[in-house]
């Protein structure tokens, strides 16, 4: 899992079956010091409670879909939790 900052929202009305009700957010992946690395990505919100501006942690690949209510869906990045506090040296 890695840190990411939520920087936007995405709405798609027409979606693959199974993705109904899933909230999509635009996230910027971060390094451990919370500095941006790479390009922004679209993540499914597994917490259903994240919003723009928040620091979150994400899970990728197969495990992303497992973070959602319907677990066999085409998703490769999902938000697992919202970060309250980080202490990294």
């Amino acid at each position: 899992m890695q840190f990411a900052r939520v920087i936007g929202t995405l709405v798609a009305t027409q979606k693959v079956e199974g993705l109904e009700g899933v909230k999509f957010l635009i996230v910027q992946p971060l390094d451990k010091h919370r500095q941006p690395v790479g390009q922004p990505q679209v993540a499914a919100d597994g917490t259903a409670q994240a919003g723009p501006g928040e620091l979150v942690f994400t899970i990728g690949i197969r495990e992303a879909a497992l973070a959602l209510p319907e677990t066999f869906v085409p998703v490769d990045l999902a938000i697992i939790g919202i970060v309250d506090e980080v202490d990294v040296r």
């Binding site: 899992m1 890695q2 840190f3 390094d31 451990k32 690395v37 597994g46 917490t47 409670q49 994240a50 942690f57 899970i59 690949i61 197969r62 495990e63 992303a64 497992l66 973070a67 677990t71 999902a78 697992i80 939790g81 919202i82 970060v83 309250d84 506090e85 980080v86 202490d87 990294v88 040296r89």
Partner: protein, 97 residues
């Protein structure tokens, strides 16, 4: 699996239920010379590791789900599964990178 160094802690209240009661640590992935690379993971601690510890990290979903007892649908992948006491390498091992 890879060798990492625990470099920090993460606190989260709103999270996937599988993570409730589990400790999250930031682990730097090390090269064979023991130097941190740019790669890191936020991993679930299974062995009472702490900041500064040299650890063994598993980053594979099926194994992780088996260890936490949440097959087949646990959304979990990176686990700290050991605290490393010693690493021995051949003299001509390709250290670095």
């Amino acid at each position: 699996m890879y060798i990492g160094r625990v470099s920090g802690t993460v606190v989260s209240t709103i999270k996937n239920e599988l993570y409730v009661g589990r400790k999250l640590l930031v682990v730097d992935r090390l090269d064979l010379a023991g130097q941190p690379t740019v790669k890191y993971d936020i991993a679930v601690d299974m062995v009472q590791a702490g900041v500064g510890d040299l650890v063994l990290v598993l980053d594979e979903g099926n194994s992780a789900r088996q260890i936490v007892g949440r097959e087949p649908d646990g959304a979990i992948r990176a686990l700290i599964v050991g605290i490393v006491d010693q690493v021995a390498l051949e003299d001509d091992a390709p250290i670095g990178g």
